[in-house]
């Protein structure tokens, strides 16, 4: 794998259907933008749902940020770029969602430390089905693909 193309393995924080959860969600190419303590960061990556049922990302927390929000950057009809809060992100069955600059992203406010390239932050993501998932997210820059990753073929 090159650059920041890191496959972040899932570690299940809570009990439950551990085997099923590990095989269903994957977190690919996650990275966070360098930032100062007074400058917010944003995290990006690809959430892949290998399962047949949809799941929903409900919230994200991080030990490195006092406040974490799901946001989307959109271009309004006047050509202005603006952000809007997103309450949840649905990942369809055998589908994926890309969090990327200029689109959906995880915003990290009130950082507890300066984030420099080479650092790693921890993100905890809560899903409606899969529960809490924890990923290690490197700080740096990305050559993140604009397109969706190839998913396993879906057979009915």
């Amino acid at each position: 794998m090159r650059g920041w193309q890191v496959l972040c393995l899932v570690s299940v924080l809570s009990g439950g259907s551990l085997a099923a959860v590990e095989s269903v969600l994957q977190f690919r190419d996650f990275w966070a933008r360098p930032a100062g303590r007074a400058i917010p960061s944003a995290a990006y990556g690809v959430i892949v749902n290998n399962g047949a049922k949809a799941d929903t990302l409900l919230e994200v927390t991080s030990a490195q940020a006092a406040r974490v929000e799901l946001h989307e950057t959109v271009r309004d009809p006047q050509g202005r770029m603006q952000m809007r809060k997103v309450e949840r992100i649905v990942i369809g069955g055998r589908d994926s969602v890309i969090l990327r600059p200029g689109g959906l992203h995880i915003m990290l406010y009130d950082l507890q430390q300066v984030l420099r390239p080479g650092d790693t932050i921890e993100l905890r993501l809560r899903f409606a089905q899969a529960g809490w998932q924890q990923i290690a997210c490197p700080v740096g820059r990305s050559q993140q693909p604009r397109r969706r990753p190839t998913l396993p073929e879906h057979h009915h």
Binding site: G36, R67, Q78, G79, M81, Q82, G102, M107
Partner: protein, 183 residues
């Protein structure tokens, strides 16, 4: 009032930055924009430090352009914050460090609200402050804003505008080189 219309050739003029605009920089110095930078080709963008998504992309694209320039002498990248309430020299410096903006080529600046407003209007940038409430009840504000990069010649004339986050690097480099040779 500057009128900026469609994309025109580099020979064209899209307006002149008029008057003296005193701005503080990330070094805490006061500069008179654009008078103090007269004679230099300027890449100018408007931004705010608290913008976590789009403004870093604009900065990143400006760095890519900067690194692609065969010669940076006589060229300056100027990022003007339209959030003077929060963007002190220290904040600007923190942004420059976080995004590894080349110095002394990159000048980050802001100024009194009325001064920044004059520049926003002269460049034809659209900026709208939008209050926001966080999930935990905290309040802050963002800005809805244009995504533009301007090419300004050594006489303070706006010669071209590009989409900031997606500016065509090779084209901008050619345009900068052309203006440098005309100076």
């Amino acid at each position: 009032m500057v009128v900026i219309s469609a994309l025109l050739g580099c020979q064209a003029e899209q307006g002149v930055v008029q008057g003296s605009h005193y701005l503080w920089t990330q070094q805490g110095k006061l500069i008179n924009f654009p008078q103090d930078l007269r004679g230099e080709v300027l890449l100018v963008a408007f931004f705010y430090v608290q913008c976590p998504d789009i403004c870093p992309l604009i900065a990143q694209r400006m760095v890519q352009i900067w690194q692609a320039l065969p010669e940076t002498r006589g060229v300056r990248a100027v990022m003007i914050s339209f959030d003077p309430e929060r963007d002190s020299p220290e904040r600007l410096r923190e942004f420059a460090e976080a995004h590894q903006l080349p110095e002394p080529g990159f000048v980050l600046c802001s100024g009194k609200p009325e001064v920044v407003e004059q520049l926003v209007q002269q460049f034809g940038v659209v900026v709208q402050r939008t209050p926001t409430e966080f999930t935990d009840g905290g309040v802050s504000y963002f800005f809805a804003h244009s995504d533009v990069l301007f090419l300004v010649d050594g006489a303070g004339r706006i010669r071209k505008r590009y989409t900031g986050t997606d500016a065509p690097i090779a084209q901008v480099v050619r345009d900068v080189q052309q203006l440098r040779h005309q100076q």
